[in-house]
Assembly symmetry: C3
């Protein structure tokens, strides 16, 4: 019987030669070559997503398990759609509705999905370090399963920072997004930096790009020890590249990009903030405050947005300034790239 | 380049030339040609479902997102199976278990799924008008995403009414189901009409078919203003086609089809009904009451049925009278037709 | 551009000639030929799972519905991954989050999934007999839908016992696992036997294999009437093949395999056990207690494990003794085999 060809088209050949990473847990030790490989691969997949048939057979027969011990519909959907567009099979595990973890350790749960034949585990957990611990266990067992950190406590959220990077770089050069496009750009990160895993991952990628990073928040959300922590962790932060502000204005001045962060309502009850209204007045991004920035300034937010708190409602919906929708779209391309880079190394 | 055959069989070429609709939100403005296109397309897909390999590649690479802000396993499963049989990828969003909507508006949630690359959004919400609002926003943004109303408050449930129509028309002419088969048939709709989105959608499709529609319910569930509402909304209701009864018997007399509606138990606590037992005695459909109808009468119910309330348990299970199982099967074919008609227009 | 062949390979032709079973509800009446067919088919699928593209098109276009009226992430994931690797479409129904069953009977729910076009129903329910009742109804209706019992109350859990059997037999002869490999092996089943559906299914399969089965538990979890029940149900239990112990040691002595069972914490509150610590001391499996067994002894557990209760934590993680991870992997192969054997008979 003659075999018929597969109806799913293949993408351009992907640049995997510079990729030796087996897990994606943190951006703290990402190399420039790795950033550029992710950006270039994501750009290829963005092209796939503009076709009528938005699928490639790259991971056919592989299993991507979304192990979300902390619930997140948005991130889980993004990874799920990315996996399906690579033709992988997906399994969703949601701790909230599961009876699985009773008496079991998290490592036991992960090992069960390993034993079922999972190739890539996408893990979110409210405790920092859980994805690392699972990755260590997989390595100890000598298995080929890859772990992708989809947000762990207040530690890191690498795929979010990579999609932010891809969004910005693509705006500057859509055809050829690469890390050095951000050299000397001024980028403000505004909001609940202390508690934000997104901010930590963004700081590593932006410092690596050569951008000038300005953090702005009230002192309760950006204490002095945070800067010490960053300098201790990021061994190669050059002088004149990282700035701390307890007021918004110096961070915005002549900024090229403004990254806002989601404010958890729980911070209010913990007395870290007086009120949402006051927070918005002092640190919320509005059209008038943006006049301090470069005329071409763009605003990012990882979502979901508290409208009228971190950012004014009209600004969020203004395509001239807001990259929020573009970030979501970039998220699918970047997650396809990460899954592809992790998955295609397996034999 | 010679194309090799796809491993998944294709259905007969589909009649899309009469279809220009981009969303399916309501049946109030459906044309006869549109009804017939849905019926004819669903008949083609019913043929596909009788094959061993019940799949067609029509929507391969497209994403159907089931955004169920109000939970419904039955309708969601029906749409999910329909989408999978068209080879689409599916995403399920269930508001109950989601942290997504915190601080976000429903439009923000919909726009997030848009930005992820969703092609068709199937939306259920407990408030009337939500699918319309999302469709309006999609149109305003100039994007090609289609919205399919899977039930909004007490407004409409178009796919349910279309599957009821398909079930009835297929019974009269399985090969060639079409709207004019119902011309002058007498059809009774019995039950909680006031609160039923199913009843509203059914009224529009049955009036359009030329059938004689008889509504029957106690006055609390079918107040006078309801008829005024229907006449105000349905501008083309011809005289002698719509009748209101506060007793069951005149509606059943010589009826060809009896459509029963689900009675929400909440109606009891709202003092709209004295008791389930009394309701069943007065408006529940039983074998003996059916003797008022045509001998060939058939009974429909959108499910899930409260056995012994809207319909007696033995009648529900009697294939001579009950179309309930047939409705569920029709549901998959009709939803495949709707997804196909909405999805195949995209390029 | 030359087209490559489709990447989904076909398995070796499967031994279905000895398979006439339409449902898998219980192992009490399984024949030796049926056991061997499952083992041989599972071995073929294990070979598929070792390939890069771990999929076969065997059930393409068929629908496997996981109807889990009792939640179980572990077993549901195993069936889901098995179905996807056979290229079936899957539907998940979870009673806990569903509004579907309101007012409906379980049979109504099952018939709805039947009417939607489900080919195989995988059913878990906290009440014994539910899968049988659904299978009876499907047979009464004369439809081809197969029912697979994924655990019903304290009755049976056939796929778990079959994967235990496959795990053990594969250890003895990986190339050719078959029932008679267990002839005269001594196998201990330890723990909450009275309440365990896993134990019941295991007893039938092990007795059928000719193994010597030793049950060990405190009298509250292994009352005298249990043995009477087993002898009454299992009509062909030969003498000298089934032993009851109220102490662990005689069961372990010279055992080839030790099967431990999950201890539900609820047993404590029901005063069937004094404390977890005492239970572990008396019936928990530890490295030192295993010295009573054959030197090659292996330990099984259906998971999830209460570490330090049924089995000591270090023993559980010791690949020299523990088959727990191997059981999970076997589970996917055995469930693929069961779905394949049930599904490939349909036309």
């Amino acid at each position: 019987m003659p075999h018929a060809p597969c109806p799913i088209p293949s993408p351009q050949s992907m640049p995997t030669s510079t990729w030796n990473r087996h897990h994606v847990l943190s951006l703290a030790d990402f190399t420039a070559a790795e950033y550029d490989t992710v950006l270039k691969t994501a750009a290829s997949f963005r092209e796939v997503l503009s076709r009528r048939t938005k699928k490639v057979p790259a991971l056919q027969g592989q299993v991507v398990a979304n192990l979300f011990f902390e619930p997140s519909t948005r991130t889980r959907s993004s990874f799920e759609i990315a996996a399906k567009r690579l033709s992988a099979d997906t399994l969703n595990f949601a701790a909230a509705t599961s009876s699985m973890t009773k008496g079991e350790t998290i490592l036991d749960t992960a090992k069960t999905y390993l034993a079922m034949g999972t190739d890539i585990m996408v893990i979110r957990h409210k405790e920092a370090g859980v994805p690392n611990a699972i990755a260590d266990e997989m390595d100890r067992l000598g298995v080929k399963v890859s772990v992708l950190n989809a947000g762990d406590g207040q530690h890191e959220h690498p795929s979010q920072a990579l999609l932010d990077l891809f969004t910005i770089c693509s705006l500057i050069d859509a055809e050829n997004p690469r890390l050095d496009l951000l050299q000397d750009k001024k980028i403000a990160i505004v909001g609940d930096i202390l508690h934000s895993r997104v901010a930590r991952s963004n700081i590593w990628s932006l410092i690596a790009s050569g951008a000038e990073v300005h953090l702005a928040a009230p002192p309760t959300l950006l204490p002095k020890f945070f800067a010490e922590y960053i300098y201790a962790e990021g061994t190669d932060i050059p002088p004149g590249k990282l700035f701390i502000h307890w007021q918004l204005e110096p961070a915005l001045e002549n900024a090229d990009f403004v990254m806002t962060l989601r404010l958890q309502k729980e911070r209010m009850t913990a007395h870290l903030l007086p009120s949402l209204r006051e927070y918005h007045q002092l640190f919320g991004i509005t059209r008038s405050k943006l006049q301090l920035c470069q005329p071409h300034v763009k605003v990012l937010h990882p979502g979901p947005v508290n409208r009228g708190v971190e950012i004014s409602s009209d600004l969020m919906d203004d395509p001239e300034f807001s990259l929020i929708q573009s970030q979501v779209t970039s998220g699918v391309a970047v997650r396809m790239a990460l899954l592809y880079l992790l998955g295609s190394g397996k034999t």
